[in-house]
């Protein structure tokens, strides 16, 4: 089949109508949303959206007199309602694929947030890889209105901060929206979300002055983990319990453990965990219900604050024992809080039972949280210290009297 020139006329005519520009969006016409905050006031959702201010963040022509971000806020009966209402205040249509952070206010979290978030799972513009955090003691918009230095886009700042602290310190949890959806629906695990907090007076953080100080008056700081019953916030873990939670969940990639020195109780040793692996196991649940956590970690000596002899295997063994005790204490405290304080299985033991004992699980699935409370959980930690850093014994050992 050959096309002659005359044949091309209708083809070209069709091409005019069929160009793929129906919903093209030029970069100048969209406001890139990087963070979103959700709050609830009088049965209406208050949505705060943080947009990037492109002219002030571009590297070459960056106009540093303008704030790098700008937030808009609108109320609506649903999130989508509020987002569309935003067009009344925001100069551009907001664009969500680059969303980094979702901040839920503590108030909404206590009332239950699940009913508000379907849009984020349904609308193709949202990806499910942004992080979810709860604004502890604050409104969501206060968190989003803070100007932060170094990483100028506040959402990016929050994103990388959460990622780093979860990677190398581990009391926080980098939880993506996709993971949250899983936790909300899985019968074997109650969700937990990391909290974020402001230090200082919220309104001060909105000023450009906050950017110009070496020591900004207002900062954003991640706190520990919040425990949920399905979608309702029940309480906050402390740092010890939060870390224990992450050990049990096998979320710990690297963290430090600080233990008192055995030669000088006032001083401390820091051990850096470089690798950690956790296994959750169940015993035949029908006859003799019991679950166990076993943690295996590799560690290095990071900091020595007293005079000890690191060249002796005996010392190393002692330190290993101390670290094991410390980690075990964190794990025990997380288990205790789960079983006694909140009576909720936010540790995900239910999922383990589901996998290993499907028949038993079927029976207890409905009341798993009640069942969970009474099941003894054993824990075992094995620490192996490999390296001492670039020193053998510390110079502290040789200090002049």
């Amino acid at each position: 089949m050959k096309l002659t020139r005359k044949d091309l006329i209708p083809v070209c005519a069709l091409m005019l109508i069929l160009t793929g520009c129906w919903n093209n969006r030029e970069i100048e016409d969209i406001g890139i949303a990087v963070a979103m905050g959700i709050d609830k006031v009088d049965n209406q959702y208050v949505v705060t959206v943080q947009l990037v201010n492109p002219s002030s963040i571009s590297a070459r022509t960056g106009d540093s007199s303008r704030a790098p971000i700008v937030t808009y806020q609108e109320k609506g009966k649903t999130i989508f309602d509020a987002i569309r209402r935003l067009t009344k205040t925001a100069p551009r249509k907001t664009f969500y694929p680059h969303l980094k952070m979702l901040v839920i206010s503590e108030k909404l979290a206590r009332e239950g947030f699940a009913n508000s978030l379907d849009l984020l799972a349904r609308d193709p513009e949202f990806r499910s890889d942004f992080y979810v955090v709860v604004a502890k003691n604050h409104r969501a918009d206060h968190v989003l209105n803070v100007l932060v230095p170094v990483e100028k886009i506040a959402a990016q700042n929050m994103y990388s901060k959460l990622k780093t602290s979860a990677d190398v310190f581990a009391p926080t949890l980098a939880l993506t929206f996709g993971d949250l959806l899983h936790d909300l629906t899985s019968p074997g695990k109650q969700p937990v979300i990391t909290g974020i907090q402001l230090t200082g007076e919220p309104l001060e953080g909105e000023k450009m002055e906050n950017l110009q100080r070496v020591n900004p008056k207002v900062r954003l700081k991640y706190t520990n983990i919040a425990v949920f019953k399905v979608d309702k916030l029940k309480g906050w873990l402390n740092e010890k319990e939060s870390k224990g939670y992450n050990y049990i969940e096998n979320n710990v990639k690297s963290t430090i453990v600080t233990v008192p020195c055995f030669t000088d109780k006032k001083e401390n040793l820091s051990i850096e965990l470089i690798d950690s692996d956790t296994k959750l196991k169940t015993n035949s649940m029908n006859s003799h219900p019991e679950m166990s956590v076993s943690v295996k970690t590799d560690a290095n000596i990071a900091e020595v604050g007293c005079s000890i002899d690191l060249t002796k295997q005996e010392t190393i063994n002692k330190i290993e024992k101390l670290v094991e005790k410390d980690i075990n204490g964190k794990i025990r405290s997380a288990i205790k809080t789960a079983q006694q304080k909140y009576k909720l299985d936010f540790l995900g033991f239910g999922e383990v039972v589901h996998r290993s004992e499907p028949k038993y699980w079927k029976r207890v699935k409905k009341d798993w949280d009640k069942e969970f409370v009474n099941i003894p959980i054993k824990s075992k930690v094995r620490v192996h210290i490999h390296k001492l850093g670039k020193r053998s014994n510390s110079y502290i050992n040789e200090l002049k009297e």
Partner: protein, 362 residues
Amino acid sequence: MLENGKISVRQFTVLVALYTVGTAILIIPSILAAKAMQDIWIAGLIGLGSGLGLVFFYWKISERFQFMNLVEILEKCFGKWIGKAVAFSYFTFYIFILSTFVLRDIGDFMLTVMMVETPIEAIHIIFLAVVLYGVKLGLEAFTRTTELFLPWIVILFVVLFITLLPQIEFTNILPIMENGIQPVLRSSLSFIVFPFLELVVFLMIIPYVNEPKKTKKAFLLGTALGGGLLILIATLSILVIGVTETARSIYPTYDLSKTINIREFFQRVEAFMALIWFITVFVKLVVLTYALCLGMASVFNVQDYKLLTLPIGLLLYIVSLVIFPSSTYLIEFTPIYDFYAVLWMLMPVFIWLVSLVRGKPV
């Protein structure tokens, strides 16, 4: 002879494999996960096993009738007029409906996740234009195109697989057979219907392979490759995004490619990954439309099937626009469709029985 072109056995294998992957790659994980849950791979393997049996059966029919095309087989079997009537209804009510499904699937996909505000008509016209052009150029041309596409699919698939490796959670497939075997079997039925049952259109293509006798191995191999790829993708979605999300998502494979993220650097590549299914859907639709045109031409004794391409394309276009009034209708219709397709499966069985009763045909 309606078709003068000849394709090689190797090309036939590629065609079968990509046809099997077809639209199934987009939606099969969610269909399988709905009932079989984490046992998706068992359902997949059972489905693939039965699918291979089915393909073998199709090939046997073809062989028994000296590799005639489906319309000729029907005419031979039931006599000229009844055969034509049966062939006509088969092509209109099964192959045609199936083709509109395939076209609509790609349109819906584009509309749902990529170009939300674009009219579906535009996507259908563009996609169909390419397909009809392929059909007009003939079997040899589009088969060679398919062969050219193959390396791309392989590369993209390998990239998809490797980049997802770090995110795999093997515990996601436990426990095995939680609810017994029944839901697994129900899922594998869906898997047999879609896509293996649909391989029946290759009865229209086997006659134009240069050595039809050697197609048995090629047919089985192509099906196994395509089916294996589907099982791999379905299992991967379970391992990476989990059972509930796979079952609840409409296009799990797309969600899967969305999760690719290597060090915040290699990410947001889903549009590239979408190339995989643009190509496989193209292959599926081009084979279906080709079979449709050829079949209709045989039924009406038209000398050149290419004459019918555009009018049939026009019908495809319109019916694909009205076939599903809404997404919910599609979800509700899926179980009915399983049953409907199995009913049409009775036809090859019937052919087989008739040919047995009549003794050695031809």
